[in-house]
Subunit: 411 residues, 2 copies
DNA sequence: CATGTTTGTTAGTAAAGCGTACGAACATAT
DNA sequence: ATATGTTCGTACGCTTTACTAACAAACATG
């Protein structure tokens, strides 16, 4: 079931330049890691890049022949053919018959991404009280699920629970596992170490290397909001300059700029929950400040407020009116916070993810109105502001997108 | 004097894979353009990358031997030697004697970037009423200057004036010109076309290709604030997650994230002047909204306000007190606008550029205080907020940095 | 003076992509 | 039916790139 090796991953010190490892059917390339300008670039890296390029083209373009791929990528038919042979070998691509329609010349052999040849394991640690896991296919669709009660586990104990869940999910896979993606709350560095996640009781937990060692599989770890943003881009058809806002216990954001996730100087990009918004005070926040975005927008605060209104009586219409006012105010605050970000980044799209019944109505509308009223018209007229279509599985699917992106260079 | 060919630059269609063009001593590589995942990557591109890597290492590291470079880059001594030979050939690097000090082994031949082997032409179109030009060395220091009155030239006429100035500056160069960098206000796309610059009366002006054709030199064009941000990073020792705020006629910003400039989905990133800030009204802005950042922070508005206070009389202490209050309020507004951006991007550094007498005192202090009061402590405690050390030449030097980065891969 | 160290270069090898050329398989014109 | 042209996929040889191995030069030290 598991196919890839334990993956020391980073620090590949002395890479043997041989073509295929003895291990058999393992994918041969760890493609396109971020090309920091301070790293040497070998021809074999170029090959990995081109291999990803071919796969990516096929992933986006549907059924294509080798010649089509060559035309689209700019590579030669020869080279393309060679790369395709490798991908066929690794069971990432399959031939699906010949092209119909009568044209002159030899009929083209159509290729497609092998949707059933591999599966991906996704873990979502961002929900309160429960650890969620799933097996997903290469399209990011959930094939099987397994959850685990979190109880009040934290620290080491929680880490063990995550490993156990991952094993249970892995057992559900019906095809070789391409890798494990994890979306976790907190600050995560690029090596997959959770630097700080108060909700989980984690500080400096080397989640990626630990899981990878325990499972013998490649593992990719990222912040849940970043994962969700990637999901929105890969599976939700979102633009490549995207901000995803997650409303839950707190408020967090994931940013995709020019198609690649933003980490920030201390890997804490997207932590907007404790930004003060507006110049007119506001409630006191747990962090000590007054008027943090979370004091207006978090799920507990909103549901609490709505419940209070309902219990206070009054006509149903009156309650709805007051409830909408609360939601609109929350949306307005979000809009106020987003204004400068939209201006500074020239974002193309903002996506809200969280409890649909809270976000989808007056809140979203009010956010949109506020952003438009507070930024240059050029920006706001081209800005798309919407709620996600990916539903509650967004982080699981984002985890899958992490693996696709990290292992295959597909996004 | 000019050495490089007219530079069709983009769209290199059929690149002959021959090693050196007949033209003689021209640098052979146009290095490290942004590696979009949708572009094929050839071994020769890898070589360009490695060449840049060696040069960059030397640029940052001072005097190093070939063996040193090999150790730092991870490349072999052989490969490094080969790349260095090329760089020597192109007069980008020089040998500067042997290493002193008694160690065993053959003494090392020290190398250095050839500071005087090439020069760069920088143009700054962002100042009111004047076009500024300069010859700079590879360290970004101004060697010679030439300015031109702009008068009320705009559109075609202004474009011609820019070409004329560029020619005058080029005539001042005393070494082969590596390229021409231009910092211009407005929205600039990556091909160097000015999509929109109201101040200059330009819409869709293909500045890069026009200049390049006229001058027969490689040309790089960017927004002035982006250029300034790059200058701050390359010459000012700033971090690689940086936001530079330019206060002048309006307010603009340039962003450097992870060391590379951010363009935004419509290439309009950094346009924060017309973001509404605060929730308490404010003056009406030329753009029609109320409370735009520019209504608090622009140079005309601040100098006007200060002049008004001074003419209104009162004791000097009273005038100073009231002047400081104006500056503090402006700083506070900037801080309010920056809060969400700092939180969303986890910036490491914010640099202010503009009239020193306005920015350096209470304004800066107030901005810093406000940002700290309105963002998570983790962020603010690690955030550096300061005015630039590069002075009024920041855009010229940024233009030079553009050329260094675009032509040599050095930043 | 022998030995060890560091530097920089020479020679040979493996990988990657290109260009050319070729057979296979099809449509269409004669 | 045959000839011609087109498109697809592959085989062969070449160039570029960076690697390994080996070596001479130039120094310090016992």
């Amino acid at each position: 079931m598991t196919e890839a090796r334990p993956s020391t991953e980073t620090g590949e010190g002395r890479t043997p330049r041989a073509s295929a490892p003895g291990g058999g059917a393992a994918p041969r390339y760890a493609p396109g890691r971020a090309l920091r300008p301070s790293v040497k670039l070998l021809p074999e890296h170029a090959r990995g890049h081109n291999r990803s390029l071919v796969l990516q083209t096929l992933y986006r373009g549907g059924r294509l022949s080798r010649a089509d791929l060559a035309r689209r990528t700019g590579l030669t038919r020869v080279t393309t053919s060679d790369l395709v042979a490798e991908l066929l070998d690794d069971a990432l691509v399959v031939e699906v018959g010949q092209r119909e329609g009568s044209r002159p010349g030899k009929p083209a052999t159509l290729l497609e991404v092998n949707r059933s040849g591999h599966q991906i394991i996704g873990l979502d640690l961002s929900e309160r009280g429960v650890l969620r896991g799933a097996v997903l296919d290469l399209d990011g669709l959930v094939v099987a699920r397994a959850d685990a009660e979190r109880g009040d586990a934290a620290g080491e104990q929680l880490l063990a629970a995550v490993v156990t869940l991952a094993r249970r999910v892995a057992a559900l896979a019906t095809a070789p596992v391409l890798g494990v993606g994890v979306g976790t709350p907190g600050v995560v560095d690029p090596t997959g170490t959770v630097l700080s996640a108060p909700n989980l009781g984690w500080t400096g937990v080397a989640l990626q290397s630990h899981l990878s060692l325990e499972l013998g599989l490649p593992v990719v770890v990222a912040n849940d909001a970043n994962a969700a943003a990637l999901a929105e881009h890969t599976f939700g058809g979102a633009e490549s300059d995207l901000m995803l806002i997650r409303v839950g216990l707190g408020v967090g954001a994931g940013l995709l700029l020019g198609g690649s996730p933003l980490f920030g100087s201390r890997y804490a990009a997207g932590e907007i929950g404790h930004v003060v918004v507006g110049t007119d005070g506001g409630e006191r926040c747990a962090c000590g400040k007054r008027g943090c975005l979370e004091t207006w927008l978090s799920e507990p605060r909103l549901t609490g407020e709505l419940a209070r209104i309902r219990t206070e009586g009054g006509s149903p219409e009156e309650a709805e009116r007051r409830g909408d006012a609360v939601l609109r105010e929350a949306g307005k605050r979000l809009g106020i916070a987003l204004g400068p970000v939209v201006g500074a980044l020239n974002l193309a799209e903002i996506v809200l993810s969280g409890p649909e019944e809270l976000l989808a109505g007056p809140l979203l509308q009010s956010t949109a109105d506020t952003v438009r009223a507070r930024t240059m018209q050029t920006f706001s007229s081209e800005l798309v502001l919407r709620t996600t279509d990916l539903g509650p599985d967004i982080v699981l699917r984002g985890a899958a997108a992490l693996v696709l992106s990290g292992r295959l260079g597909v996004s």
